[in-house]
Symmetry: C2
Subunit: 217 residues, 2 copies
């Protein structure tokens, strides 16, 4: 197919496809004539994936480049895939969060018997969120943090179950990276829907589904 | 305090404080002399909050501006706070996700008895994540989505419990918005830590805490 069809099928503008190409995020097409390059299904899937990583996963182009590097590696090691998955979310160049916030996150993780290292980027991410909540005077209670940690453990469990069902090590590496990145917006989206339900129950005026005069007629 | 101390206390560069000011994200300081502006604790907290919303929550400046507008409103209605909280995550101008992906998300929400509206931005966010996973050939099984939805419900529950404990409507609106935004990175961070533990158990070579030769000596 031509680039116009690739663009249509993957649901992004031709200029966006060209941008992904310039950034080295999608493989070259096959030159079938001096003025013609052909693309196939693999390109459609790749463009869809890049779009999801950048727009939905919120990755930077450089983080997406790292993800693609693992996906295209002949024999990506699981250790490498794991490292890329973990660090894709990390915003670099930020000041370290306060040590108290980090300690709180580490304590809640240790209380669950989790084995982790001090350089796990999740510690800083969670600690920074706690600092932001503290800035509006909300000191997250223990039950609050525990519920978040248990929810995180439940999703981590099914993430790993999904990996365990894949035999091919290349596919394991692929899902490890992409599943880690896209699990965040999957969860965040479901949390917004659950929020509307819970808010409506607690504060009927706030989260109410829009009145529909047709509904009961 | 002077802007240099505000910068130091809040942990951001003076140029960043000035950038927040230009964008209208922090209130003006008090002019105490022709060449001197004074800031107080409220400014420190506000700069910390803006940093968390932008850097940790991943909000755009325009989304952060909406959040601040609710926080600074004399009588922000809960309905308004809810709408801002829900839409702060939404990336605008994207093509709609495939209807099949949206239907799958709606089905999993309805199966839990959640009341929600079709314009809930979480539906598109979760549907886009499913599309990205499908682009690597991962068709999320029902148990996988159910675990994510139940985890989302558990966090929504404690989010609303925290709101219910606040009496002051202004504080409810404030926590509704900031808690919604910062709950995402709090969860994502904890999920990364849980991933390291789960990965290490399933694939010892991948998620292993770094060997520490000092550890047993």
């Amino acid at each position: 197919m031509r680039i116009s069809e690739l663009s249509r099928r993957a649901g992004v503008a031709v200029s966006t496809v060209k941008y992904y190409q310039r950034e080295g995020l999608i493989p070259d097409g096959e030159r079938s004539a001096p003025n013609q390059v052909d693309y196939d299904e693999r390109h459609v899937e790749r463009v869809r994936l890049i779009r999801a990583l950048l727009e939905t996963g919120g990755l930077s182009v450089s983080a997406a480049t790292e993800v693609i590097r693992v996906l295209d590696a002949e024999d990506a090691s699981l250790a490498e895939a794991f490292a890329v998955a973990q660090h894709a979310m990390a915003v670099t160049g930020l000041q370290a969060p306060a040590s108290g916030a980090r300690e709180r996150v580490e304590r809640i993780a240790r209380a669950r018997g989790w084995a982790f290292t001090a350089d796990n980027p999740g510690i800083d991410a969670a600690a920074r969120a706690l600092e932001g909540l503290a800035a509006i005077g909300f000191d997250a209670p223990e039950t609050y943090l525990a519920a978040y940690a248990d929810a995180a453990a439940a999703t981590a469990r099914v993430d790993l179950d999904a990996l365990a069902e894949l035999g091919d090590p290349d596919r394991v590496a692929e899902l490890m990276v992409v599943g880690t990145v896209l699990g965040d917006p999957l969860f965040a989206g479901l949390r917004r829907i659950a929020h509307q339900d819970a808010t409506h129950r607690l504060f009927p005026a706030a989260g109410a589904p829009a009145a529909d005069p047709q509904e009961d007629s």
